[in-house]
C-alpha cells in the first residue's frame, strides 16, 4: 500500500487530499508513481509542473527516491510559509 497526500493548490485542483494505492513493483521510484498518476489525464497534469515538490515519509526528496510498500508520499507546489 502507498499513501499519497496532496496539498494546497494541488489538493484543490485534484479535489482530493489523500488516497491509498495498492503496492506495485512498478513503483520502483517516486517518479514512477508520479507518471502513473499523470496518466489519469485532466487535472492530474498539475503533477507535471516543473516546480513540483515531493516528500517520502515526511521528508523532502527528489523524484529519483526509491519507494517501498507502506510509504507515505506527498506532492505539493513550492512551499510559501514564513
Amino acid at each position: 500500500m502507498i499513501h499519497v497526500h496532496y496539498f494546497a493548490r494541488y489538493r484543490e485542483a485534484l479535489g482530493v487530499d489523500s488516497e491509498q494505492l495498492g503496492w506495485s513493483e512498478a513503483f520502483a521510484r517516486l517518479d514512477d508513481l508520479r507518471r502513473h498518476l499523470l496518466a489519469r489525464g485532466g487535472d492530474w497534469a498539475v503533477l507535471g509542473e516543473r516546480n513540483l515538490m515531493c516528500a517520502r515519509n515526511q521528508e523532502l526528496c527528489g523524484l529519483d527516491e526509491p519507494l517501498a510498500d507502506g510509504d507515505e508520499i506527498a506532492f505539493f507546489p513550492t512551499v510559501t510559509g514564513g
Binding site: A8, Q58, A74, V79, T80, G81, G82
Partner: protein, 148 residues
C-alpha cells in the same frame, strides 16, 4: 530549542525577552518576526489561510533547527509558526536565536528563515480584491537558501 506550530496568536516581544531567560552567558539575541502585509505582488490582501502538512511540519522545522545548532554555537533557538486564518498586521512567524556573540545569532536566525521559506511545508492562500489565490514560491527565496 523549541518548535511550535499553532493556530493561536502570539506576542513577538514576549518571545524575544524569553530568549535571554536570565542566562547571563547570553550576550546577543536576534529575533525575526514575519507579519501579514496588506499588499502582495500587485494586489491588496484582506487576510490569508495558512495550510500545512501535519506531522511533517514539525519534523521539517526540527531538522532545520538541528542544522542551525550544529553550524553555530547557539544558547537558544525558538521557531514559532502560525497556521489557519490570519489577518493583515498579524505575526505569522517568529524565529529567535541567542548566543554569546552577535554573528552566530544573526547568521543562525537568517539561515533558519531561508530554510523555513524553502523547506517547511506551509502554503499561503491569500484573499485578494480579485478573489482567493495561492501564493507562489519566489526565486529570491530559493537563491537565499543556496547561500548557506
Amino acid at each position: 530549542m523549541g518548535i511550535r506550530v499553532q493556530v493561536e496568536a502570539f506576542d513577538p516581544g514576549a518571545e524575544l525577552n524569553a530568549l535571554h531567560a536570565a542566562n547571563v552567558g547570553v550576550g546577543a539575541v536576534v529575533g525575526f518576526v514575519g507579519y501579514v502585509r496588506d499588499f502582495n505582488e500587485g494586489r491588496e490582501v484582506g487576510g490569508m489561510f495558512l495550510e500545512h502538512y501535519p506531522g511533517m511540519t514539525e519534523k521539517a522545522l526540527g531538522k532545520i533547527a538541528d542544522e542551525a545548532a550544529q553550524r553555530w554555537p547557539l544558547l537558544r533557538l525558538e521557531i514559532l509558526h502560525r497556521i489557519g486564518r490570519l489577518e493583515p498586521g498579524e505575526p505569522i512567524v517568529f524565529v529567535g536565536t541567542a548566543s554569546a556573540h552577535r554573528q552566530a545569532a544573526f547568521d543562525a536566525c537568517a539561515f533558519v528563515m531561508d530554510y523555513l521559506k524553502t523547506r517547511a511545508p506551509f502554503w499561503k492562500k491569500e484573499d485578494t480584491g480579485e478573489g482567493p489565490r495561492w501564493v507562489e514560491g519566489r526565486d529570491s527565496d530559493q537563491a537565499a537558501a543556496r547561500r548557506w
